[in-house]
Symmetry: C2
Amino acid sequence: MADKDYHHGDLRVALIDAANAMIDKNGAGDFSLRKVSQSLGVSQSALYRHFSGKDALLAAVAEQGFLDMAARMERAYQSELEAEARLRSCAEAYVNFACEHPNLYRLMFGELLADRQNFPELAAARSEVFKWPMQCLLQHNREQGREDSELREGDKLLIQSLVHGLSSLMIENLVTTRLSREQIIQEVTPLMVFFRR
Amino acid sequence: MADKDYHHGDLRVALIDAANAMIDKNGAGDFSLRKVSQSLGVSQSALYRHFSGKDALLAAVAEQGFLDMAARMERAYQSELEAEARLRSCAEAYVNFACEHPNLYRLMFGELLADRQNFPELAAARSEVFKWPMQCLLQHNREQGREDSELREGDKLLIQSLVHGLSSLMIENLVTTRLSREQIIQEVTPLMVFFRR
DNA sequence: AGTCAAATGTTAACGCTGTTCACATTTAAT
DNA sequence: ATTAAATGTGAACAGCGTTAACATTTGACT
């Protein structure tokens, strides 16, 4: 027993949450281990009892981001019934998440986690995001009378490239248009349901 | 007159070239002003006579990258005559450049230059890249008998999102397929010529 | 040719960063 | 109660971007 809690209790998740909040607000470039440690009233080296280093903490934040994004994608998926409407809903949810959490999205898909292969859980969490638009493609195939349960590689790549590319361009302010975000989404998402054949 | 040249002569371009080489080889994350200065046998603070800071040097490197990429895009454009073939050629050139210079491409389009608006020349150089695929769209419109010289916002966004998204995913090893790069390009680029209407 | 200001390069220092090491404290099992 | 493991601390290290004061070279004007 101590008047002050020498042990934090759940420092690991507290670190992830605090880092998530700091990155979401000010970007990962401004983020530092010393700041997040200090914000929790904890020494700067306490972190190394729960993470092997900065990259590991960033990876944990990114993983949580993927899971949150996936939950939102599922809600978008469930909100519609037809394949095409579902796909458009998923695409909207994807771009909206990216635009509402640009700093987090950059961390999840960007260059900052240079050693992604060191954190295999990231790939698993990311596939949870793309699971839902892929499900839409499968349903579309079935509605078209195709019984193949395997998706075409090109279709998968097309849909992933489109939503990721559009999100990235919008986040980095590389879209030179006077259209609003809603208008852009309304303009582009219909174009991605022109499947091959 | 001195036995050693106190003045470098063209330190500015030497810095850009050296920084370009270092970033292209090892990535911008590993890059530092001290390293590039030392590689030129020059003090670490000499740099500040030619650039306002690290971001300014990175911006200059990125700008050069855009111009190099644009030259390559023009060659791809000129290598074909029909609009659709030209667009595919441009898309191939785009993705190939990104895959051959992933670190440079990340710098050009990524999050590292957080303050892009401070360097308006970047936007100009970038538009030189997209000038050629846009030209393809215009030619396509003409071949289809449309006389409108204005491009649809949606078409521009679609093509930019596709090539940028596909390049980013490939660079970050986020493409989960066993296809080779050439196969991927062959698979996806035909899909981007399905214009609207 | 001589003078002086501007351009360019150097040295030293500041604060911040990620990381490590030796040490302290708390927890939990024997 | 004892002991080992888990968890947190404090000090230190090297590397970073940036700045300030100082040194050298260049070039222009008399």
